[in-house]
């Protein structure tokens, strides 16, 4: 009960003005990000603190607030065509059907003639069915401290409806398989000033950057940790972020330019990574540091 209350208070403050109540300060402000020179004892304390916080939040994950907004937006008639996604958008399981859809993407969609991850598919529906302009969505596709785009809420809503379901990217589909193989090559592609590829950090087992463990996305276990918790509520900055965002942030740290939003490149990379996590259980939208 107490945990729920703390969670609710935090969540209220997180969402801020979007809820018609006086926003309260978070009950437990997340520990500030340790300075780069910080020693391990401090980092370990921060890690413990975070794990504790995450455990406390398990029952009242701030992601649920975004999920609720997403539910409204999924069902509401919106856009220039005044159509709801619930009555028009097929995520691969039939129009309007969202149960288990997230864990079965990326998949090939014949109407778009493209392999699409969940976020890309919902964007496609918003553009094709509701009449929103792609460029408007792509202008500000990800959340920051003061803004959360509708697409983030929608992805969170759809992802939540795959909670505790088995990941099942349809790799037997030749188009999906092709995307997977291209994604694998993208992951191996070294370039840029530091000669980095995705695999520089995420291609072998048991490595760390500083204290951060690096999952090997070529393995089922490593791929799962790359999938789990996305979309996720990120403590740093207090923002809800999607898997697409996470892929972009990897390229940023790789010193690459930015992948275009909802592009083949990101969809193929996600096909490779999520496909490698096939058969394991997705726990739903999560909390990230």
């Amino acid at each position: 009960m107490k945990q729920h209350l703390i969670g609710a208070l935090c969540a209220l403050a997180f969402v801020g003005g979007s809820i018609a109540q006086t926003p309260k300060k978070p009950a437990a402000k997340p520990a500030p990000k340790p300075a780069q020179a910080a020693v391990a004892e401090e980092k370990d304390a921060a890690t413990l603190e975070f794990e504790k916080f995450r455990a406390e939040m398990e029952d009242s994950n701030p992601a649920e607030l975004f999920e609720m907004k997403g539910a409204e937006q999924w069902k509401a008639k919106r856009g220039p065509k005044n159509v709801s996604l619930a009555e028009s958008c097929d995520l691969g399981q039939g129009v309007g059907k969202i149960d288990g859809a997230y864990v079965k993407m990326p998949r090939y969609f014949a109407d778009a003639d493209a392999v699409m991850d969940a976020e890309r598919r919902i964007v496609w529906c918003m553009v094709e069915k509701q009449g929103f302009l792609f460029d408007d969505i792509a202008k500000r596709p990800f959340a920051n401290e003061t803004f959360t785009p509708d697409i983030t809420n929608l992805v969170t809503y759809v992802a939540a409806h795959s909670r505790n379901m088995k990941i099942d990217v349809p790799l037997k589909d030749p188009k999906v398989r092709d995307a997977y193989e291209i994604g694998k090559e993208i992951a191996a592609y070294r370039a840029g000033p530091y000669d980095f590829s995705c695999n520089t950090c995420h291609g072998s087992d048991g490595k760390r950057i500083r204290m951060q463990n690096l999952p090997n996305i070529a393995t089922p276990k490593g791929a799962l940790s790359g999938v789990q918790g996305w979309p996720g509520y990120r403590m740093t900055g207090g923002v809800m972020l999607t898997h697409q965002w996470r892929m972009g942030d990897c390229f940023r740290q790789q010193r690459f330019p930015q992948p275009k939003y909802a592009s083949d490149a990101v969809a193929y990379l996600l096909t490779y990574m999520i496909g490698n996590a096939n058969g394991q259980t997705y726990k739903g939208p999560g909390i990230k540091r």
Binding site: Y189, R208, P257, K260, S263
Partner: protein, 204 residues
């Protein structure tokens, strides 16, 4: 003449044999096409960064396992690119080196290109024992100089390795810090001191 052809054949064979190691050229070609169309410049990270240089292309094409003789030749080429300080001194101030080793900033699209770039060293290496937040992508460098000494040859090696790691291991995961323009001669000297100076905590 015959000898020449033979030599060429001998050289070409291992290269061709090594190519299939990089899984599959068809999907690699598709991947490159996708990368070319699906990225946009942001901040200091321009699209020019997507192009492979010769070394990257060889490493990418061979799954980071180039045939020995190619690796040797290209490593030698990389070694030629190392710029040594005019005064010939290769050891700077280890305290400055520690600061550079700590910093991981630079070269991302969110970094201010006007600010100095860090060495990123602790991201991947254990170095001075006081810093316990270190990565493990690279080997531990703790006691680097204590074990190896700090002879002129060792200084030259450490300097060259930091300037261009690919001069010693063609497809090393380690960036070519001097070659990439991330670190200048002075900064590399400080890092050499961090590794080799007997007074550096690395060697205590």
């Amino acid at each position: 003449m015959t000898k020449k052809i033979l030599l060429a054949a001998a050289m070409a064979t291992p290269f061709l044999m090594a190519l299939p190691a990089s899984a599959d050229g068809d999907h690699r070609a598709k991947a490159i096409a996708v990368i070319k169309k699906d990225f946009q410049p942001r901040g200091q990270a321009g699209l020019d960064r997507l192009a492979e240089d010769g070394l990257q292309a060889i490493c990418n094409r061979t799954g980071n396992k180039p045939p020995e003789y190619i690796a040797k030749r290209m490593q030698d080429d990389q070694l030629q690119t190392v710029k040594f300080p005019a005064d010939g001194k290769l050891m700077g101030d280890w305290k400055e080196g520690e600061k550079i080793a700590q910093s991981g900033r630079g070269f991302t699209w969110t970094d201010n290109p006007g600010l100095p770039v860090g060495g990123n060293c602790y991201n991947c290496h254990r170095i001075a024992p006081k810093e316990t937040s270190f990565g493990t992508v690279g080997p531990s460098l703790y006691q680097f100089g204590k074990i190896r000494g700090n002879t002129p040859d060792m200084q030259k090696y450490a300097y060259s390795k930091i300037w261009n790691a690919k001069a010693f291991n063609l497809c090393s995961e380690m960036p070519r810090f001097g070659h990439a323009g991330a670190l200048n001669e002075q900064q590399v000297k400080h890092l050499v001191a961090l590794l080799l100076d007997p007074e550096s905590p690395v060697n205590k």
